[in-house]
Subunit: 199 residues, 2 copies
DNA sequence: AAAAACATACCAACCCAAAGGTATGTTGGC
DNA sequence: GCCAACATACCTTTGGGTTGGTATGTTTTT
């Protein structure tokens, strides 16, 4: 029996990575465990050693891969944005990159697909949304305190709105292969963000 | 053999209805043809007589059920909205009703799930989006001409944005069972729409 | 008008591949 | 030696899809 070197953490990560690719393309129901393990060049034995079942795998992926990816690409960079214009160009950049591989796109697609049928996954995904939302709310708070965000803005409500806008973009841009829709979305968001400016 | 009375159109519709329920809950990959026909109290024979395969069934449902439903609930009512305030309360109402059964919710969820993996379905869904977008753009045009929408607004861009906002709402409201998120979304959209007002 | 001929609508049973998951190994490493 | 970390083989169910037939209309013929 051809047995590979034993590297549990590496193996686990390989499975999560493969699962991520499959989930991002085919969604949850559309991704078979067979495709996942073969993509990772492993076997079901390895998979079921690390995860009790498919849903647990998905939850682990959400918590251990998707959430960190969101943190890295969409949340952490906001810490250094100290003006509305900086935020706007940040949003524009994220916007133009919205494609199936992007963590935000995966987050949204998976939520849309599974939240109704698999409440447990919905909860796990909501956690990620929640962090995202909170980070934007915090940023808005900072902006209000520093004076570059209008006083009338309610950070919590506004953050929910912005999250929804990005979520919507990931859906509406999904049908088009060219990036005309991406540009339109980026422009529209840009125009909208201008309304947050302190006068 | 127990054979029901032959009512092809009724049968076809029953299958489409059942498919709609299943798709709205479990998505495309998550819905089996078995569940669909059993829900319709029919058999696979009936299904495959009316539709060549699963994808064709989905496409037929999109064109013959989803699109009309969108037209009826989200598009046609806009014809009689002759002020920004009327539009705002219309949007608020649609917003509060955003749940898995709503056509917009199904449209968004299915798009998020299938657009990447099943381009043909993506095209069919894009058609629905396109009509929706066009109707809002037209409404904005009317508003500009009549003077209750600000001159600087670009109807096409703005329409895309509004569609995205609704799409995003269907996703972000999906995890929560209570309607707190619905209210937040409705309020945020309401505040946003105010910025379209002619001064 | 009735019967024969044809076409449509549907059912029951089956097929095979793939699904998620289990049981039973081996093997590397402390 | 022993247990964690894998591999192999298999099991059961469900997936989409087919097959062959039968009941029901509809049309044609006489």
């Amino acid at each position: 029996m051809k047995q590979r070197k034993k590297e549990p953490v590496r193996t686990r990560q390989a499975i999560l990575d493969a699962a991520g690719v499959e989930f991002s393309i085919g969604g949850y129901s559309g991704s078979g465990l067979g495709s996942i393990v073969s993509r990772a060049e492993l076997t079901k034995g390895a998979l079921f050693h690390h995860f009790p079942d498919k849903q647990a795998l998905a939850k682990a992926w959400i918590a251990d891969a998707l959430a960190p990816a969101m943190e890295k690409l969409w949340i952490a960079p906001m810490d250094v944005l100290s003006s509305l214009d900086a935020f706007r160009s940040f949003c524009r950049a994220r916007c133009m990159e919205l494609r199936p591989g992007d963590p935000a796109s995966a987050l949204v697609s998976l939520t849309a697909e599974t939240a109704a049928a698999y409440p447990e996954l919905g909860v796990a995904l909501e956690v990620v949304f929640s962090d995202w939302r909170a980070s934007i709310a915090t940023w808005l708070e900072r902006g209000k305190a520093a004076g570059w965000i209008h006083r009338s803005i309610q950070p919590a409500v506004e953050a929910s709105f912005i999250i929804s806008v990005f979520s919507g973009f990931t859906v509406t841009t999904q049908c088009r292969s060219d990036d005309s829709m991406h540009r339109t979305c980026a422009s529209a968001l840009d125009a909208y963000l201008e309304t947050l400016r302190a006068q």
